[in-house]
Structures are given as structure tokens and as C-alpha cells.
């Protein structure tokens, strides 16, 4: 196996080369970008992010918890207030809503940490501080025999540099 590391100036070049590489069957690739660009995101993986499932689960857990604790606690220590039911539902919407947002938000961020691999760890071998400046990187792992083809694809899409490293 070999690894090719290429550097680009523009996000459209990255999006185009990623599309071409994937069309040619080179699926084992990673892009590095200094800022979010939708075109790269769509080229690399057009499927919707799974973060939304975390938001939904968190929101549902929040609304259930919000109403659950209020109904249970109101019934556990019954106190008639202003002639309302012991477990009157209308005022419970407020805390129910707040906990929906709270749990939804927390789970969303946990989803980001999980899906984005955000925890203290060593950086990728081929990551460069240039990718947090203004340049883009595309790293492709391929068979030795495909190196020439991948390099040609990269250079054909305005790669400023293409470097080769053996994969471990």
C-alpha cells in the first residue's frame, strides 16, 4: 500500500478530485480543509450526517424527562395551588420545552465528539499545519500499482504538490 498526499489552493479543485477519485474506486481517502466547504462535504460523502439522530434522541429524552419529573414530583408531594390540578399539564410545557432543548443540545455535541473523533489523541501522520492555514489536503491510500494514476488525477486537478509515502 502507498499513501499520496496532495495540496490544493481551492475547494472546488478538492471537490472535483475527490469526486474523480471516488468514481475510479479510490474510496480510502481523507480531506483536510481550513474551513467548512459544502462542495467538499458533498463530494466526499453526500449522505446526511448522523448527528441529527443524536439531536432527535436527546430532544425526545428531554421532553420525556421534563414531563416525567414534573408529573412524578407533583404527585409525590401533592399541593393544591390556585385551584389547579395537582399535576396540571399546561405549566409543565415550559420546563418540558427547556429540557428538550437542553438534552437535545448536549446529545448533539456528544454526537459531534463521537462522529468527528474529537478527543485528545495524536494527529494523523499526514496532517500538516498548512491545512489550518489556507491550503487543502487530500490523502489517498492505494495500491503501489495505482500510484501513477492517482498522482495524474491529482495533478490534473491543480494539485500544487503531490508527495508519496508508504503506508504502515
Amino acid at each position: 500500500m502507498a499513501t499520496l498526499v496532495s495540496v490544493y489552493e481551492l475547494p472546488s479543485d478538492v471537490a472535483n478530485v475527490v469526486r474523480k477519485l471516488k468514481a475510479r474506486g479510490f474510496e480510502d481517502l481523507t480531506t483536510y480543509s481550513p474551513a467548512p466547504f459544502e462542495e467538499i462535504e458533498l463530494a466526499e460523502d453526500p449522505r446526511p450526517s448522523k448527528v441529527r439522530a443524536f439531536t432527535l434522541i436527546g430532544g425526545l429524552a428531554g421532553v420525556v424527562t421534563g414531563f416525567g419529573i414534573q408529573i412524578w414530583m407533583s404527585m409525590d408531594w401533592p399541593l393544591k395551588i390556585a385551584g389547579k390540578n395537582i399535576a396540571a399539564i399546561p405549566p409543565m410545557w415550559i420546563i418540558g420545552f427547556e429540557l428538550t432543548i437542553l438534552f437535545g443540545g448536549i446529545l448533539t455535541v456528544l454526537g459531534l465528539f463521537g462522529l468527528g473523533g474529537l478527543y485528545p489523541r495524536p494527529l494523523d501522520e499526514h496532517y500538516s499545519p498548512r491545512f489550518s492555514a489556507e491550503e487543502f489536503g487530500v490523502v489517498v491510500r492505494c495500491e503501489e500499482r495505482d500510484v501513477a494514476e492517482v498522482e495524474a488525477l491529482m495533478r490534473g486537478h491543480n494539485a500544487k504538490e503531490v508527495n508519496l509515502a508508504p503506508s504502515h
Partner: protein, 457 residues
């Protein structure tokens, strides 16, 4: 092409002169480096204010709330006014970050970090005041539902409890929003730091490298947080307003309170962003990123929300008159012509009359003028809460129970201390993390480069 050794890759990628450092990184990270006299002077001033307020609070805690000037019939004084004020200030950050994000208003990119930072520290400051107000700080946990030996639970029908949940949710979500946005920029700082700073930034960046997978999850997280923070920001000040509107006190029991408070919060919050960002831009030479265009847009928001505030003030007086309820009419008459007339007229002049100058385009980009105007708007917004709370409580139903409330020295020191507390956090943040969202500014710059034109940040 013969494969070089693996180490050669890193060498080639990081060879001296090879990495083209981004000017945006250099300019924005320069704020965190070097020595700036105005920053140090401001920090020392803030620390002195916090120290004095802490000592005063310790004395108040020892002596009791009597020293805070609480006396019949006014038991909600400067502390509750200041709580509402700071919660309001915290609204601009979420508005700029979440709502303008959903509307794809790209001009927010240069100011959203400053506004989010302000939000987090403003809500943190606000959250102190209910604790200061209860006097016995060590009993704060009574506000939370927790199992206890008396089998008591909190009253879920009370707006004060709704407030506990709303403020804590807002603080948590604002903090998460702020931290999520900060992660890519901490990675920028990590890649350029050395020594212990690099170690700290490495932990905080959590392995961020800007991979496609990371950006995808990040973008969706920001989108979803924006989606849920938008109704949240509207709910929080609505719930704060219900602390008043759910009662039957004349001047408080009004259905207009929720939208009135929300508009006022956005108005005051934007004014505070302007007050904070003008000196930051000037001292740290950020004119390339925070331009007149940003201040003009913020001025438009301020003008628009000022009109909503003006409408709400007018509607309150109209409804008080039209209702035919004598107590309501008296309460509003007392506001304008009673012992607190000064605060009412300050509120009207600073919040409604003076902002009308922003109809003049030249003034919308005149930064010294904007700074002074926004300072007065903040003063006016504080007076607005003073008018709502104090005039209503001191002039309730029975004239024999009327009283006069004058803030005590203790309250005024703690009020000043709250500004110092907020400034202290903001100033420390300036020297540790990027005050402008680097990645979001770069997104605009790279797009502009690609399409061959410049663009406002």
C-alpha cells in the same frame, strides 16, 4: 515516482518557507500575543472592581440583606434589575450566532465569536444575581428539585422555577455553541504554539484536523444547535418576563411582556456588542476584519429593535389608559411623573429618542458616535428594568403601603462589580483564544479568492 521514507513527507510538508501562513491566522492570533497596555490597564481595573465587590458581598453575607437597602415594600431591587439586564445582554450572541446563521447572513462571521463570548460571560454574570439576591448563598440548591428528607419538591407552577431551568439551559447551550465554534480555531492556535501552550491547546482542540468527516459533523452540529437555540433564546427572556407578568402587580400583569422583553434584550445586547467590539477593533488593529459594514448592520438592528421598544412603551401606556383600571393608570402615571420620573425619562430618551439618529447613514458608521450612543442605550436598558421593577413594587394597590426605594452603596458596588466581573472574563479570553472566528472568516476569504472578488467578512 520512488517512495521516499515516511518521515520525508512531514519534512516536505513543513519545510521552512513552504507553508504559506494565512494572513488571517497571523492577524487574529496576534491579539493573543504580545503586550497591550490598554488591555493590562483594563484588566487591573476589572480585577480591582471584582475584589471590591467580593469584599462587599462577603460583608453583606455576614450582615444580611438589610445592608442592601431592601425595605418594605420593595424587596426586588438592584440585584434583580441587574439580573434581568445581564440576561438581556446575553441575547445578542445567540441571535448573531444562531438566528443569523439560519438566515445565512454571512456578515455575522467576523463578529459572532465576540458576541458569543459576551453571551457566555453575560449569562454567567446574570446567574450570580439570583444567588446574591437570596442572601443565604449556601442555600442556593433549594432552587433545584432534589430528593430530601422532608419529601418536599419544588413548585412547578412558579415562574421563578421556570426561570431556574431556562437560565441554566441557556447557559449550557450558549456554552456548548461557543465551544463547538471554538474547536477549529483552537486547532489553529495549537498548530502555531510551542511549549505548555501547545500542550493545553492540543487537549482543548481534541484531535481536530479539519477532515471532511469532522467538518461534516461540525456543520450539522452548528446547524442543529442553531435550530434549537433559536426558540430557546426567545423562550428565555419570555420566561424572565413571566417572573413579572404572571403576578397581579400593576404595571407587570401584561401579555405584551414576553415580546417586549425579547426585543429589549436583543436591542441592549447588540448595543453591548458595539460597545465591546469598537475598542477591541481599535486596540488590536482588527479593522480589516471588523469593518464599517458590520457596524452599519448592527446599527440597523439597533434602530429596528429600538422601534419595537418604543412601540412597547407606547402600547403599555395606551393599555393602562384604555383598560380603565385605576391601579394600572396610577402605576403608569407614577412612572412618568412620580418620584422615579428621572429613570423613566432616561429610559425613553436613551432607548427610543436617541437611536432615531441612526436613520442618518453617516452616523451608522461613525464609530465614536456609535460607541457613545450604545453606552447610553445600555444605561437606558438598565433604567428600563429599574422602572419596571421599582416603580411597580413601590406603588402597588394600597397608597398607605407605598414606599420609596433608593439603591444602597452596597448594591451599587455589586452592580459595578458585575461589569468588572464580565470585563475580567472577556479580557482574559482575548489573550487566550481568537476573538474572531478564524475558520468562518477564511471560508469567506477563500470563496472570494475562488470567485475572483473581495467580500465583506
Amino acid at each position: 515516482m520512488a517512495p521516499p521514507p515516511a518521515s520525508a513527507i512531514a519534512d516536505a510538508m513543513n519545510a521552512p518557507g513552504n507553508p504559506r501562513e494565512s494572513q488571517t491566522n497571523v492577524d487574529i492570533m496576534a491579539v493573543t500575543k504580545g503586550f497591550h497596555w490598554p488591555w493590562l490597564i483594563a484588566l487591573l481595573f476589572a480585577l480591582s472592581g471584582v475584589g471590591l465587590a467580593a469584599a462587599t458581598l462577603a460583608w453583606q453575607t455576614y450582615e444580611g440583606l438589610g445592608v442592601a437597602g431592601y425595605q418594605a415594600p420593595v424587596f426586588w431591587g438592584v440585584y434583580i434589575i441587574t439580573f434581568v439586564f445581564w440576561i438581556g445582554i446575553g441575547h445578542a450572541g445567540t441571535l448573531i450566532s444562531a438566528i443569523l446563521f439560519l438566515f445565512r447572513a454571512k456578515w455575522r462571521n467576523a463578529i459572532n465569536r465576540g458576541a458569543e463570548t459576551m453571551t457566555v460571560f453575560a449569562v454567567l454574570t446574570a446567574a450570580l444575581f439570583p444567588l446574591i439576591h437570596i442572601g443565604r448563598l449556601w442555600k442556593f440548591y433549594f432552587l433545584l428539585p432534589y430528593p430530601n428528607q422532608r419529601y418536599l419538591w419544588v413548585n412547578f407552577k412558579s415562574p421563578l422555577l421556570w426561570d431556574v431551568f431556562a437560565v441554566n439551559t441557556y447557559l449550557t447551550i450558549s456554552l456548548l455553541f461557543f465551544l463547538v465554534g471554538l474547536i477549529p480555531d483552537i486547532a489553529v492556535a495549537r498548530d502555531r504554539a510551542v511549549g505548555w501552550k501547545k500542550a493545553v491547546y492540543t487537549v482543548l482542540a481534541g484531535g481536530w484536523q479539519g477532515t471532511g468527516k469532522q467538518w461534516k459533523a461540525h456543520n450539522r452540529t452548528v446547524l442543529h444547535l442553531s435550530g434549537i437555540a433559536t426558540p430557546l433564546v426567545l423562550s428565555v427572556h419570555s420566561i424572565v418576563s413571566w417572573d413579572f407578568a404572571m403576578s397581579i402587580v400593576p404595571g407587570w400583569h401584561a401579555t405584551i411582556f414576553a415580546p417586549y422583553f425579547v426585543a429589549g434584550a436583543i436591542f441592549g445586547g447588540f448595543a453591548m456588542v458595539v460597545v465591546v467590539m469598537i475598542p477591541v477593533r481599535r486596540i488590536f488593529r482588527l479593522e480589516r476584519y471588523i469593518t464599517d459594514y458590520h457596524f452599519e448592520n448592527m446599527s440597523r438592528f439597533i434602530l429596528f429593535t429600538s422601534l419595537i421598544c418604543g412601540y412597547a412603551y407606547g402600547a403599555e401606556y395606551f393599555i393602562a389608559w384604555y383598560s380603565g383600571v385605576e391601579f394600572e393608570q396610577t402605576s403608569f402615571w407614577q412612572r412618568a411623573f412620580g418620584p422615579y420620573w428621572f429613570s423613566t425619562w432616561c429610559m425613553i430618551v436613551f432607548n427610543v429618542v436617541m437611536p432615531q439618529l441612526l436613520w442618518i447613514k453617516k452616523l451608522r458608521t461613525n464609530l465614536p458616535f456609535l460607541f457613545i450612543l450604545c453606552f447610553f442605550i445600555n444605561l437606558g436598558m438598565w433604567f428600563e428594568r429599574y422602572v419596571i421593577i421599582i416603580t411597580s413594587l413601590s406603588r402597588e394597590y394600597v397608597p398607605a403601603a407605598w414606599g420609596l426605594y433608593i439603591p444602597s452603596t452596597v448594591e451599587l458596588i455589586v452592580l459595578t462589580g458585575s461589569f468588572c466581573w464580565f470585563s475580567m472574563f472577556f479580557l482574559l479570553f482575548l489573550k487566550m483564544f481568537p476573538i474572531i472566528a478564524i475558520a468562518e472568516v477564511k471560508e469567506l476569504e477563500i470563496h472570494a479568492k475562488e470567485h475572483g472578488h473581495g467580500g465583506a467578512h
